[in-house]
Symmetry: D2
Subunit: 260 residues, 4 copies
């Protein structure tokens, strides 16, 4: 029984290879997570367990997909950067995006109980995902800065908002109080009304999370002359740094190295 009579339908499939010499960013974003976080009673403005669950998923991603060189996460969103020269599935968008989002989702559900042993999943968490190509390392840095600035703006606002609400205001009133305030005003408000120094809040809330390969030199043994024999060990690492300034990147120049 030949299949050929119907095989013409394959011709409708589209080639969607992404252009070479571009970093590929896959950004995953929780779908209806506003409701999902309400239904699962996430803490406000930040639920540390939920963030740690997102982070462990991202760590799994870097362990499973070796061409991901960096990931940055905030709230229910995570960006994964595939290295410029990746040939993963021939750079086909129809592979990179679904595989990333599906693997992430799978780990999220599997690890849920580890992070929320007291809560059962009430409905399936799921994520959308988009792919974007960036032609230069410099623009990838700007992309990451864009996400981290967003993290800062949202977190500062949400911190104020929930402080006000917890202090007795209605959500409506809290919103009104914050209308038109700039960053400095919000810091003042936190300090004056609640004695909170924004800059002392946990970095995971203020800076989001970075996942990357740390290259560690470690002494394996001593050689016959008693000198240390060293080895480079690669370790997927989570941190909460400033990635807008150059410091982190100067210390990790290999992460976004441009091809010659």
């Amino acid at each position: 029984m030949a299949n050929s009579k119907y095989e013409y339908v394959k011709k409708f499939e589209v080639d969607d290879k992404l252009p070479p010499h571009n970093w590929i960013v896959v950004r995953i974003d929780g779908c209806h997570f506003h409701r999902f976080s309400a239904d699962h009673a996430f803490e406000k403005p930040n639920d540390e367990r939920a963030l740690n669950l997102m982070n462990i998923c991202a760590v799994s991603m870097l362990e499973h997909f070796p061409d991901i060189v960096f990931a940055y996460g905030v709230s229910d969103e995570y960006s994964f950067i595939f290295k410029e020269s990746t040939q993963f599935y021939e750079r086909r968008a129809s592979k990179l995006v679904p595989l990333s989002v599906s693997y992430f989702t799978s780990v999220y559900v599997m690890k849920w109980n580890e992070f929320f042993p007291d809560k059962e999943l009430k409905h399936p968490p799921y994520f959308d995902g988009r792919v974007i190509c960036y032609p230069r390392a410099k623009i990838v840095l700007d992309y990451l800065a864009w996400r981290q600035v967003d993290c800062h703006i949202n977190n500062q606002y949400n911190t104020c908002f929930w402080m006000l609400v917890k202090s007795g205001k209605t959500e409506q009133e809290a919103q009104e109080s914050l209308k038109g305030t700039v960053s400095k005003d919000k810091n003042e408000l936190l300090f004056q009304q609640f004695g909170v120094n924004y800059d002392k809040l946990p970095a995971i809330f203020r800076k989001g999370s970075c996942v990357y390969i740390e290259k560690l030199e470690e002494t394996v043994k001593l050689d016959d002359s008693g000198n240390p024999v060293k080895r480079l060990r690669k370790k997927v690492t989570v941190g909460h740094f400033d990635i807008i300034g150059p410091k982190f990147w100067n210390e990790h120049p290999y992460i976004l190295e441009e091809e010659k």
Copy 2:
């Protein structure tokens, strides 16, 4: 603190709306499921529990995404057909594919224990997903026929192969025996050597699974004159039919109705 300095990076995002007046097919496919099924000791050639798990995921999909009008699954693959006129997320491919594959994955992991209470997930199951546009109902039917013919060819081969292996042949020998055989030869082999009538094997193996909305007329009550008051009830239904011939489609003309 304005975000605008970095916001230019959004310009790299691509508009990927799918063309109007086309049926949209999203096909999900297990990634490395050969290994996944081995690691979880799925029965050969077909593991009914694994198929039922796939089917329950597909049912969840139709319940959750109302614009999916039909789904067809075989082995670790499932095709979902969105209706011609769907405006779901403005027909953006970057939404339809990741959301479908992520939701499916999420349900798969959540329901795993229900179907395999005796087996723990050893590693995350995950799926790829592609989108294809078909401009006419007739071609969607050909697409489905293509998948069902594939199901038949693979299942018949695998049934023979595993019968031979279970009867004592090596996998190598089984493969050799089947080289060059046509459909009829395989049916003969099954009947002669193993007393198996292929056509009597469970339809779920031979035909794959269809998920769709069945419209059932049911009597709600009797009216004052004693006549039945009827109501149309919609029910997501799983079946294992021939979808190559016209019978099923004639009985369910509303599923792939073309827009006027």
Copy 3:
């Protein structure tokens, strides 16, 4: 001297095959033709010679590219419809559009002198071009109707506008007079003020131009018994019909025949 070191740059080329089973429309549109027609003193509101030049270019297109089954032109724009099943250059957009627009342009310049022997080209006429895929004959008809309605609306407006200007009004005043008028008002205005019956104006202005293959049965000779021997002759034909209603299409069912 091997070229291979640099050949990687070919990988940046994109596959742009258009989807099968869609009619392909290439629409050509004069670029800066407002200025071009002013510089070459085209008659207002319609320059018959300019329209005839456009039409002769379209005729050349149908003679040169056999997969074009219909063309519709109005003003400085022309739409060419490639048949649903065309395999012309494997349906690659990067071939169909540039070749169409380039061939059209080439003929336009070559034939200019034939239509405007008294005018020299002052600067190069040129056209843009876009490609659109339509999945059903019915939608192609709607596309053509869209263009012909546009032709009607513009021509009626322009006819009034230039009548008013030629009668002594300024362009500003003419514009004011027409603000808010509907189709019927404009017909009244033409009749009352200028004694013009709009429906009697040349069809080429009111209806635009259609170019297509007319199949003519002609008698070649008489056979031995004196009966006529007939032959089907195909002839590229220009006409100015209504293509919104069904009449023309009923008489020429072969033009937009859908594949089975």
Copy 4:
């Protein structure tokens, strides 16, 4: 009379903006120019008039489209490089390609008589055109090197081939003689058999043609103190240089300057 009923057909048009921060290359290529050059008796292996006509078209392109920063032509092909930051027609491929190819074609036909006063156009010359995006200046240089290497390989082969043919060999025999020869062999053949030093042949044949903006400093007048008042004059210039090595690019660093 509203047009809205049909306007839905516009939804089938596709957004095709090219990604930011990429150089855009539009490459134009003569269609069926093998036949076109035979029909118009172009000289072999190179027709200098035909090349000069191509070059004048390219010059017109740079004069007309100010965002083209460089053009490179060989035989019946020309590549136009739009600057990295061009916003010409919002970087829409459906504008850049057709407009480029149409304008080029228009000038080609208009200027034909200037270059071939003795020959009439027998049929319309036309060109295809494709667009390619390159994310870095370095890759644009490799693209240009790819084309110039191609020019060299083809020209050397064709020079030998036509020398052999003109010396009495059949085309078949000439082809045989050249089979398997490398660059050095061909130079030897030209020198030994025909006394031709390949490197002394006109650069336009060996190197192709570059069109670019030369920035010239010129003295406008003397000021009151008798010192020269200088001005930067921009001039579209044609040259036949090596563009594989760094010399030309070092002298014209502004042409492919990368955005900061």
